[in-house]
Symmetry: C2
Subunit: 243 residues, 2 copies
């Protein structure tokens, strides 16, 4: 038996998120079915973490145990032949049997794409969050720096999560303009439920002057009501998982 | 009666192209129906030119005659309220009654996006042509320069076109790499049916060494069989129409 780690890209637009669930099509289900179709094995595909409905991945990581005779280097092509075009296995490699995509991850990097038109542009509608207000980008950049470091991010956690330890460390945050886009990239040792989307929503509310409190104080307050709105899923991309 | 010129962005993925046709949904039909829904007028929306099924537009231009009482500045928002999210009116302005989106156009600029991965990436699948071969980009750039100037492009015209005068002038061509993309931009006084897509296909065939003849000689031959394949619609964007 070997433990195979897959690197996966997907367009999350048409899925109910990563995790298997009843009455909705998930990315996990689609890939597990593709693996079954080529190996006849019912595998449990363990990802680095769930992504919500509409969230995309540039490089999601997931692993599974298998006894397949298919050579490792043929696995991506074999699985891809059974996948719809909005999901692709980029690569496969063998890892030790104790490798676990979620528990072994040491940090993750997310990318969030915004646009700033007076209405949502057709070509970006599924991949960016349009903010139709004047934004003070410099203020957003400056405030974003407060996120770096180890903090209790309980005020930036979406409801419905039962996580107890809400302390996380953010190593890097970068907010920049590029062509038609305003991009936020954030890297940390882990993220709470909806944390990146609430960070983005808070920075947007700061940028448009709806929130005037310093982000440092908002974090310290540990109060979800002091933070901003939850930015939509479609602008969010899991960029990289580090092991 | 006034003549209203619209600037329109659309994602062509889900449409049978610009032009109205039976048994398929066109962008023209959708917008004409939206205009009818707000003005109760059956207008004839004249575009700068058809785009094929799957082709996108950053800024298509189309005009229509109307007696509507809706103020000009409210027209984009009013029409957009009746359009699906993959089509948007960016702006509307009044033009002279003799303005005709196609006949009045003096030049057009197209953008074509390619990727060069070993397989098609989910996030680019509807907006770029993936070429899974090694490409000599420098050679493509150098050969592309031969297109500039006034030539008989009959060898770069798709079958099914009845156009008689096949002489066109290309003013500018630019081929460059940007992030994950190889981009071709081309500007000319007009383009034959499938001409941009055949230019791209020919440059790709040159770049991968499938065609070794100089592009100058291919143009001079006026022979469709000497030019390369027709690149797919999904990588093509109408970028701008000049008046």
């Amino acid at each position: 038996m070997i433990n195979v780690r897959l690197t996966i890209q997907y367009d999350g637009t048409n899925y109910a998120g990563w995790q298997r669930q009843k009455n909705a099509v998930s990315i996990q289900q689609i890939i597990e079915e593709a693996i079954f179709s080529i190996t006849k094995e019912k595998v449990n595909l363990i990802s680095s973490g769930r992504t919500d409905s509409g969230v995309h991945a540039l490089e999601q990581v997931a692993n599974f145990l298998t006894n397949t005779k298919i050579p490792l280097k043929s696995i991506p092509k074999a699985i891809n032949s059974k996948l719809p075009p909005d999901i692709r296995i980029i690569s496969a490699d063998e890892v030790s049997l104790d490798f676990h995509s979620r528990y072994s991850a040491i940090k993750k990097r997310y990318k969030y794409i915004m646009t700033n038109f007076s209405f949502e542009m057709p070509l970006y509608r599924n991949y960016a969050y349009n903010i139709p207000y004047k934004l003070d980008i410099e203020k957003m950049k400056q405030q974003a720096k407060s996120l770096i470091g180890t903090h209790d991010f309980v005020g930036f956690m979406g409801s419905g999560s039962s996580v107890k330890d809400t302390v996380r460390t953010i190593y890097d945050i970068d907010l920049y303009k590029k062509d038609d886009f305003i991009i936020l990239e954030v890297e940390g040792n882990g993220f709470l439920y909806n944390m990146v989307r609430i960070i983005v929503g808070t920075l947007v509310d700061i940028g448009r002057g709806k929130i005037n409190e310093d982000l440092t104080l908002i974090i310290e307050s540990k109060d979800r009501n002091k933070a901003g709105h939850t930015a939509p899923a479609k602008g969010l991309f899991l960029k990289k998982v580090y092991y």
